[in-house]
Symmetry: C2
Subunit: 207 residues, 2 copies
């Protein structure tokens, strides 16, 4: 398979127009879209081909409400760690879309997968966390190509999330994803747009 310049340009556009979305329309997603997102996660790289991501589709209103309450507690604690103008700026940010997004996924990493037989993670168990992050990014990019937004919510207590879903001891919470049609589109990160953090370029160093 040889890709052409045109293909690379499309990938760049998808990378460029992917945003972390917190403003969703409530319209439901059809099951084809869910299938596409699931397939995208399964195309991610993983150490030893261990594929350690575990996904719970959260449909129960009680579980959604409990997730929102954990977010609210953590977000208040985070807000209280800032002072003055920065605190006001923090309070003005919308940092989750858990009350609206039609599809919500709780993502965990299996930290002791059978699959892969331990290959490649003896010295760096963090590789499993990296694998799950990449599977989430596969989902995000595929969603964007389907004109659907994804918001990754991390202002959550991982221990509380593991207890909420009563997961096996070896599962570590990775993220809560909110997925749905976005209210708006943008090629600039919201945190840059609202002045919280500019979108700087990372310099490479040579040695």
């Amino acid at each position: 398979m040889d890709f052409a310049e045109h293909d690379r340009d499309i990938l760049t556009q998808i990378l460029r127009w992917r945003r972390d979305v917190r403003h969703f329309r409530p319209d439901a997603l059809n099951s084809d879209i869910e299938d596409a997102l699931q397939q995208a996660m399964d195309l991610a790289p993983s150490v030893g081909n261990a594929r350690p991501w575990r996904v719970i589709r959260v449909e129960s209103p009680d579980l959604r409400k409990a997730g929102q309450e954990i977010f609210s507690t953590c977000n208040q604690a985070a807000r209280d760690s800032y002072d003055g103008a920065q605190r006001d700026a923090y309070m003005a940010l919308k940092l989750a879309g858990m009350e609206v997004a039609p599809l919500q996924l709780a993502i965990f990493t299996e930290t002791a997968p059978e699959e892969g037989h331990g290959l490649g993670r003896a010295t760096m168990p963090e590789t499993l966390v990296q694998s799950t992050a990449m599977s989430i990014y596969s989902l995000m990019l595929t969603a964007r190509a389907l004109n659907i937004g994804v918001g990754m919510v991390s202002i959550l207590d991982p221990g509380a999330m593991e207890r909420l879903f009563d997961v096996p001891d070896t599962w570590c919470f990775a993220s809560w994803l909110c997925i749905g049609y976005p209210e708006t589109q943008d090629d600039t990160p919201l945190l840059h747009r609202v002045g919280w953090q500019e979108n700087t370029q990372t310099q490479w160093e040579t040695r």
Copy 2:
């Protein structure tokens, strides 16, 4: 920006044909390619827009050799953790391409970035590791669209890598990337192809 079905198909092909590559041709990459890879990393999501990835382009033969020696030590220790047929299978695997790949990058995560002002990582410092992993995956996908292969080497002692490059205390080693033209192309993970670990599909659970 609305993407069409054609765009999503191209993304899926890029995801599907991306492989972790360990067999490289020695041909040098031109600087346009390096620029494209750097830009791709900078399009990755990051918590609080903190962009915590730090990149060292490793050109010094002494540093490359030292990296290979750290790999060799870790790989022997990993090999000795297997017995019998699995040990033979492990020994038959080629798990790095550090002796050939023309471009090699040591990637670190800044665990205390100024950028982002702490947003989104109070309860989950792991979000910084996730951000760096996603930036690596941006690079991998862009490389694949440019018909270039990337191999992520993790059979390395992170402490030894941090000492080798004498990085700040807040930098944590993430990965060593080998980048170059691949000897072959494949749409099936090598570890599946050689029988180490099948490419299984992850099931989603609903609650």
